[in-house]
């Protein structure tokens, strides 16, 4: 059965490879946005050298790293699942002899791997060339980075699934999708780096699941969080992952039993 899920992921990966030009255009967009934010940050840092332990170089790295993993963790316009619910095609997926969530999970993971390689890597490389970002040299940083972003991506998939599955109950759920994405982007530090937020807001944000999406992986990569602080934050996010996954599984169960599927 495990092989089946790997196969699903592989197919999703290969399907993505076909869209070379779309990926190139998307890459340009990612780089452009990171560039704009970089200029804003450089200009802002003219008045003070360090904020909350982040100098201008750190914040630039943070920004480029964010842009690099954005498409992995919070891809725009993921409504694939929602579409199948709207058209009724979801029935075929539900009746496949595999777990409904794991099926979608594998598909999304396949896509994630694609985006990490063909979108994230070139984005960060562009930043490295333009702003001489460099990479951290400690092995701990790399080890942690190897573990925590896949975790963020897993959280991201559970979240994606959640805001799509509402389509079982709300037919016109596009507003929900854009709202869910914006909130998540804001609270994971995609609009403004979380370390720059005022203290009280950071305290709230640190307790929410969104931090684990991107902020935590990026902070780990930068080596800004380590030791017991890291383990605390990571443990909390593991808790959130369990909660979100259970919620997803429960909602699938409810949908399976009570929802009348749309036709045609």
């Amino acid at each position: 059965m495990l092989r089946f899920y790997f196969e699903v992921a592989g197919t999703a990966f290969r399907r993505q490879i076909v869209y070379r030009w779309a990926n190139l255009a998307g890459l340009c967009t990612n780089i452009f946005f990171a560039l704009i934010v970089s200029y804003i940050i450089i200009a802002l840092y003219a008045v003070r050298p360090v904020v909350a332990g982040y100098d201008v170089h750190d914040t630039l790295r943070y920004t480029w790293m964010m842009q690099a993993i954005l498409m992995v963790v919070l891809p725009f316009g993921f409504t694939d699942l929602m579409q199948t619910i709207r058209t009724g095609d979801v029935v075929t997926d539900l009746s496949k002899p595999c777990d409904f969530y794991l099926y979608w999970f594998s598909r999304e993971m396949g896509k994630n791997v694609y985006y990490a390689i063909f979108r994230g890597l070139p984005t960060y490389l562009a930043g490295m060339v333009i702003f001489k970002l460099g990479v951290p040299l400690t092995w701990q940083s790399w080890l942690a980075f190897g573990l925590i972003p896949p975790f963020g991506a897993t959280l991201g998939i559970a979240y994606r699934f959640l805001y799509n599955i509402v389509a079982f109950w709300i037919i016109e759920a596009r507003a929900v999708v854009s709202f869910a994405l914006t909130i998540a982007q804001f609270l994971t530090g995609s609009f403004i780096p979380l370390p720059l937020l005022p203290g009280w807001l950071q305290t709230i944000v640190n307790w929410l699941p969104f931090r684990g999406f991107m902020d935590l992986p990026v902070q780990v990569f930068l080596g800004k969080i380590s030791g017991s602080l890291l383990w605390g934050a990571f443990g909390l996010q593991v808790g959130w992952l369990i909660i979100l996954t259970c919620l997803v599984l429960w909602l699938v169960q409810v949908a399976r039993q009570h929802v009348v599927v749309q036709g045609g």
Binding site: C28, Y39, I40, A43, V47, F179, T182, I192
Partner: protein
Amino acid sequence: MWRNLWEDLQLYQHLLVIQIKAQLQYKANLSLDIISYLGITGLEFVALLLYFVPFRTLLGWHVGEVAMLAAVMSLSFGLSELIGAGIDNFSVLINRGEFDRVLLRPVSAFVQVIGNDFRLRRLGRITQGMLAFALALHFLPALHWTFFKLLVLGIGIISGTIIFLSIVLLGATLCFWTVETTEITNILTYGSREMLSYPLTIYHQVLQRFFLFIVPVAFASYVPVCYVLERPLPFGLPAELALASPIVALLFALVSGWIWTFGVRHYQSTGS
């Protein structure tokens, strides 16, 4: 020509009225949509404000001044979204070969395209723009207002709307050849909106020139706002240039309109 224009406007109005009536049928849904759109655009603006908690100024620009820039951007972008959302969906029209049908009708193709997807929920961003503007005024109590400044700002916002509409039209024209919408258009619309919500001078020279002289979005936002705030313009440009924003916008619109007509003439339908 004027009669044609008049007929086009009547058709456009007719298309809008139908869609507004349809959307008003679902009042609860509509207000929810507008509010969530206001929330989304509001969060982006909140992020901009939050930058000014750790940093007092942005190269001499205070939070109120930057808020005014962002407000002008939101308003012109919001208006262009409200009016021209139909162009955004152009790739669908091309993809399904429905543009053939559009061309068969004895009325302007442009009006049919632009008028086919009018969404009242776009009022959300315009509301956000107005709130941002009110906040900017609150942060800038000492700002001296004259009738002329108001005029320049108003004309600037309208020029900005025209420029954004021309950009999406250019993006749509590209679909004649590429069939799919390319994300490159997003750089010019969403990207320039984000970029010019902050003072132009913080960016690289190339970017500054590009958005002043080639895709003149800055002409309709940065230049008028500088006039209102009595700030000098980059490259030693005279402040009076603020009055030229409608001319620049119309020129840009003419060029993109010409390219669009060229595209329509060379349109080859797609199968399936």
